[in-house]
Amino acid sequence: MKPFRYERAENVSGAVATLARERTGEFLAGGTNLVDLMKLDIMQPDVLVDVRRLTSGEIEDLPDGGLRIGAAVTNSDLAADARVRSRYPVLSQALLSGASGQLRNLATTGGNLLQRTRCAYFYDTTTPCNKREPGTGCSALQGCNSGHAILGASPHCVATHPSDMAVAMTALDAVVRTRGPAGEREIPISDLYRLPGQEPERDTTLEHAELITAVDLPPLEFSPNSRYRKVRERASYAFALVSVAAALRVRDGVVLDTRIALGGVAHKPWRARKAEDVLRGAPAVQESFRAAADAELADAAPLRDNAYKVPLAVNVMTRTLLDLPESR
C-alpha cells in the first residue's frame, strides 16, 4: 500500500476543507471497499480524511413522512430499523442481501453508495482498464464478460455498479445530501450516478472533496408493498448477476403506480422507467409484468458471455412484481 497521511477533522466543514486542499485524497468511513482497493494499489490517495464520526449515525423521521438516513448509519443498523422494515421493506431486503454480517457492521450508508465496481479487470492491475487507468482500454469488452453490463454501457467500459442498497434507493427516488467546497447540494440518486460514456473513471457526479452527509427517503404511499429480489451465483455473500427492486400500487386489479429499478445490469442502478410507463393503468397480471419487463430490456446490448442476463432480468422483474402482496 502506498503511504498516505491520515487526517481527522473537528466537523464536516473541516473535513471538506481539509480534503479540498489536497490534489488526491479520499474520505474514509467504514473502509470496507476503500482499504481493500488501497491494499491492491488500485486507489492510491495521498491523504485519508476520516469522517466516520463526523456525519450522523441516526435515522430521523422527516415532517413529510419520509426518513433521513445519516451517512454514517451502518448497513446493519439501517436494515434492522423498524421504520425501514415496515415502510421501505425493499431497502431492508436489499441491504440484507449484500455482503456479510461483519461487513454490514462496518459499512456505512455513504460508503455503500460510493463503492467501486467489482469488475475483475478493474481489480487486476496487470490488465488495461479505462476506469482504473483512463485511456488504456477495456479488457472486459473482449474478455470474460459474463458479469458485465447489458444496458447503458459504452465502448470504454462495460462494468456494473455493485451496490444492492443503491438499487432499492433508486426505486425509492432517494435524495443524496452532500456538503462540498461549493456548499450543500441535494442530488436525486438517479443523478448521483452516471453512465460510463467516455469517462468511466468517474462513477458519480460528485466533485472533489464533496461529502455525502445523509440520504433522504421521500414518503411513498405504497412503499410498504415493495420487495427486493437478487439472483447470484451462490446462496449468500455474492454480488448480483441481476437484481430487482420494485414497489407496486394496485386497485381493483389495475396497476395505479409502480417503482422499479434493476441491479447488476449497468454502470449505475438502472431505473426501469419504460417498464413503469407500460405498467401504469395495466391489469396487475403476469402478462402485463412481462410486457413491461420486455419493454425495459428491449434496448439491451449483451456481450459475448452475458446474453443470459436479458431473459434473467425479464424473469426476475416479472417474478418480483408477481410476488408483491398487492398482486395476489
Binding site: Y6, T32, V35, D50, Q102, N105
Partner: protein
C-alpha cells in the same frame, strides 16, 4: 509517520504507535502478539480475521487501526472468562466443529456476535417476515447469518449444530 493509538484488547489497555497503513488485524497479530484473529484472504472475503469491535463483529483486515483509536476489541482468546471457555467454544469442541482449525477463532467470534444480533431482533436475508420481533434461529438462519465465515475444510455440518445448541442453551452473553 507513525500515529499513537490506544486499543483495549481482551480487557487489557494497549498503547502502540502504528503506520497509518496498518490494519487492525496486523496491529493485533504483528504488534500485540495476539494470534487468534487469522489472516486468511486479507480482503474481507473469508471472515478468519473476525473480532468484536466495540461489541459488533467486524473484519479486522479491512479496518485501519488508526481509525479505531480507543476501540474495545474482543478476540477468540478474550471470550473465555476466569479460565472457563465460552459456551460457544465448548460447543465447537463438543461438536467437532472444525478440522484444520484455521477459521475456527473467526467462526466462534462471529457466532457470538451473530447471536447478539439475533437477540436484538435483527432480520436476515432469509427471514420471511421482516415485521417479526424475534426470529427463530433455524439452521437456514444460522447458515445465512454465518455466510461471512468460510471453512475450506467444509466443517459446516458440525459448525451449524454447535451454534444451534449454544443459541438454544445459555444464549449470547
Amino acid at each position: 509517520m507513525d500515529v499513537g493509538i490506544t486499543l483495549k484488547v481482551d480487557g487489557i489497555q494497549q498503547r502502540i504507535a502504528v503506520d497509518p497503513r496498518t490494519t487492525l488485524l496486523d496491529a493485533l497479530r504483528e504488534r500485540l502478539g495476539i494470534y487468534g484473529p487469522k489472516k486468511g484472504c486479507d480482503h474481507g472475503q473469508c471472515g478468519a480475521c473476525t473480532v468484536l469491535l466495540d461489541g459488533m463483529r467486524a473484519n479486522s483486515c479491512l479496518a485501519l487501526a488508526v481509525a479505531h483509536d480507543g476501540a474495545e476489541i474482543i478476540t477468540a482468546e478474550g471470550l473465555a472468562e476466569d479460565g472457563e471457555l465460552h459456551p460457544m467454544q465448548r460447543s465447537f469442541i463438543e461438536h467437532d466443529a472444525f478440522q484444520c482449525g484455521y477459521c475456527t477463532p473467526g467462526q466462534i467470534v462471529s457466532a457470538v456476535g451473530m447471536l447478539a444480533e439475533a437477540e436484538a431482533g435483527w432480520p436476515s436475508h432469509v427471514t420471511r417476515d421482516l415485521g417479526a420481533a424475534d426470529v427463530p434461529l433455524t439452521d437456514e438462519e444460522i447458515r445465512e447469518r454465518m455466510s461471512g465465515n468460510l471453512c475450506r475444510c467444509g466443517a459446516y455440518a458440525n459448525i451449524v449444530p454447535a451454534i444451534r445448541e449454544t443459541a438454544a442453551g445459555a444464549g449470547p452473553r
